[in-house]
Point group: C2
Chain length 506, copies 2
Amino acid sequence: MLTYTLSAVRGSPPLYRQLCDALRADIAARRFAPDEKLPSKRTLAAQLGVSVLTVEAAYAQLLSEGWIYTRPKSGHFATPLAALPRELSALEASAATCASRRTGQSSVHSATATSPFPAPEKRQRSARDPRESAARNHGQTNDEIIDLAGGGPDVEDFPFSVWAKIVRRLLSGGNRELLAPTPSAGAMELREAVAEHLREFRGMQVDPERVFVAAGAETLYALLVRALGTARPWAVENPGHRTIAAVYRQCGAVVRPVPVDSGGLSADALAASGAAVAHVSPAHQYPTGVVAPAARRYEWLAWAAEEDGRVLVEDDYDSELRAEGLPLPTLQSMDAAGRVVHLGTFSRTLAPSLRVGCMVVPEPLLPRFREVFAPLSCTVPNLMQFALAAFLSEGHFARHLARTRTRCRRVRSELLEALRSGPLAGRSEIAEERAGPHLLLSLRTRRPDSTIAAAASAAGIRVRLLSSFYDGPAPRAAAGRLVLDYSALRPGRAVEAVERLARLLS
Amino acid sequence: MLTYTLSAVRGSPPLYRQLCDALRADIAARRFAPDEKLPSKRTLAAQLGVSVLTVEAAYAQLLSEGWIYTRPKSGHFATPLAALPRELSALEASAATCASRRTGQSSVHSATATSPFPAPEKRQRSARDPRESAARNHGQTNDEIIDLAGGGPDVEDFPFSVWAKIVRRLLSGGNRELLAPTPSAGAMELREAVAEHLREFRGMQVDPERVFVAAGAETLYALLVRALGTARPWAVENPGHRTIAAVYRQCGAVVRPVPVDSGGLSADALAASGAAVAHVSPAHQYPTGVVAPAARRYEWLAWAAEEDGRVLVEDDYDSELRAEGLPLPTLQSMDAAGRVVHLGTFSRTLAPSLRVGCMVVPEPLLPRFREVFAPLSCTVPNLMQFALAAFLSEGHFARHLARTRTRCRRVRSELLEALRSGPLAGRSEIAEERAGPHLLLSLRTRRPDSTIAAAASAAGIRVRLLSSFYDGPAPRAAAGRLVLDYSALRPGRAVEAVERLARLLS
């Protein structure tokens, strides 16, 4: 019988979260046999003396993270996990019941909805949820260009007055600190604030000494190449953010585009690629929206641990904007071998024009990164460093994130409803992971992508095609698929956006 | 007979400057034969109807730029210049009387004072000018550490209130511009302001489209490697700023340290190095203080023009702080072949913590640099870009530079006097070029550099040894030489500084 001691003391995490954490730790520690059936929600609720809703919430979260999977009408089962070398998984309490590695089965249990990516089994959920109501939005319908190409939060949402207040305060202090050089990895104040933010929002235990700050994600990519070298190839997600491969190539790396399937970057293709570094976005792959399930993550970690010098770069560019559920644990927190560099940015959540990114370097790689940074000056101006440190540590960022998430959820539900009830109903399919502010829309059309792209500008809408995210020629299956990034879409504009999208078909 | 029409109309440049420009153009155009004697100051003054002082100032400037040289008691002569391929020198009006290339003679005519660097002939000037009075400074003598290791202007000198005012104004405008992305090479407002600044202070004709802005010089170095490639080696000055070679190496370039002689980076050694890119600082070499004479510059330009793909990187890190005379023309303005990338920074003149550097890319390289920048975001935060643009275009920077130069000159003369009259008189020799805020001091001592370095921290003074600027082992001649960078030395502290320096000898 499963028993856990859950604390209802004031200040403890919610019960469902405690239960979720306990179950996750046990699955990671292989205390469940591969494919072992979990107790039914009702049974477990009775055993623990909690409500069925609590168990339901915990199971939903574990499902979305891929620790468990469902078989229709038979309940929930523990996902078989790739074997890791002994004591390499930070989440494992003991390695007593290690499951054997089951390549090819791992991506089965993803909660992915309809997807253009190869998957060995059928999906369990349909994206066209009949429970969703078909209410209409009340959007304005003016001629302003509608931006579904994303690339950052709406300028309107930036907490300008708070930010300005902090900057003014720093300036009026006549602070010498603002001018004296900071350490090359960033001012300690900022690195401490980032570490605290990551603890709070991503459950990471981060020594501020491991935090390195630089002028945006692209500057970090370049520094990564300088630290990790170009002797062996770098793997990137295909499709993916094209800038990542572009920067790696500019910096002299040989880049191997590795296909993304329904579990994220393919572990088999990665192993075959000959790469020594793999850039992955487990929390929310761009543009496919895939959330990497636990099994796939373990495959990556096993790959990294297999050979000296292998490194995973975890790109966590928008996990704070997850639309539903808890943010997933980071790959770095699942890794005890010190092979994962965690990358974060404030461009997606605050403003791209701030130009601040940060990375958390695992302990074993610290000496090498320190060596690279030693001769350099920090690329973020002091004023920005101290302003951001204050913005984080005084709680403004947390409040801003809460507001942004609320807006993202509202826009998401408006957009989903408009897609299901508007002129595209029956002429398109939605694939999304409820993870971040974008989704994939497959148009039922034979129009070539070039025609669709040309029609978009005439229709007054900025939108990108999935095929434009491929390194090299896009597969046929990618045709007619739109990446709808609604991070810059204002509430009330979804109906108009969908009407304009419908013009792409006529 | 030499005749020039000089304009005395209000608003024209000073007469000496007009004369200097006219003579320079004629020498560059080879209208003087190699080693041709110029008219005496008195004769030319009479011919032109100007005062002898005007001619004297023009000759002094041309001397410091290396266009002319003196022979004791016989007057001024035109420097023989390396032959450039036809129509490659932007300063040449005609190529009718091209001098033949005279390698090895070019560095003879430098105005360098005592120098540790190989030079084929004796110096013409002594650094220990007897005309300098031996007055003492009235410095405080407290225990605060005295910084002669430089690395930027004194924080106290930063025009904080003006800067803060601009930032506040930008913030209170609630300006959407502050958040919208700028072009990857920087906001047009800033690039225009930089171009105007370079026109005014460096006499450069710069299309703002050729200006690229990034987060400091080191970010520019890395982008240069990405643009110019690592297929062939990169030459750097030895001794030199160690960070330059460090960044190039980190970015995958094979670096060839090329010796600096009394004319700057040796042209012969450069030709033998096999390098395709050469990083030079013609205006003021760090740490030797050498100002590259015109002849050497032409040798570099000839080297660059000799083979496709060769590029000169002109590092103009502190020319605005030149202690005496006009700033020298830039290498880029002497080059019509489009082989020179000009680098500037605001770290030396404003504050390192601003993190803004800029480069001016020659026309033929523009397509390649645009390609590299295309996928990137500008690494300078918008707020900094717009604040700096306003700071430049509203004249604050020009005023700040004037103040900083005044302070630099004052500190320089205090330091020179203190060296000549204080406890180091007779125990050291000064080598400097009147160019920027540092000089070389040779101590008459047999103490090894390691002992001197250890004594410095005990004496409460930050100072760097020339030997620490070498890539690889320093030559014996570098021993016992201090690089005195007084950019961070406050007025009134020179006497105390020299007293502490004297302790390094006992």
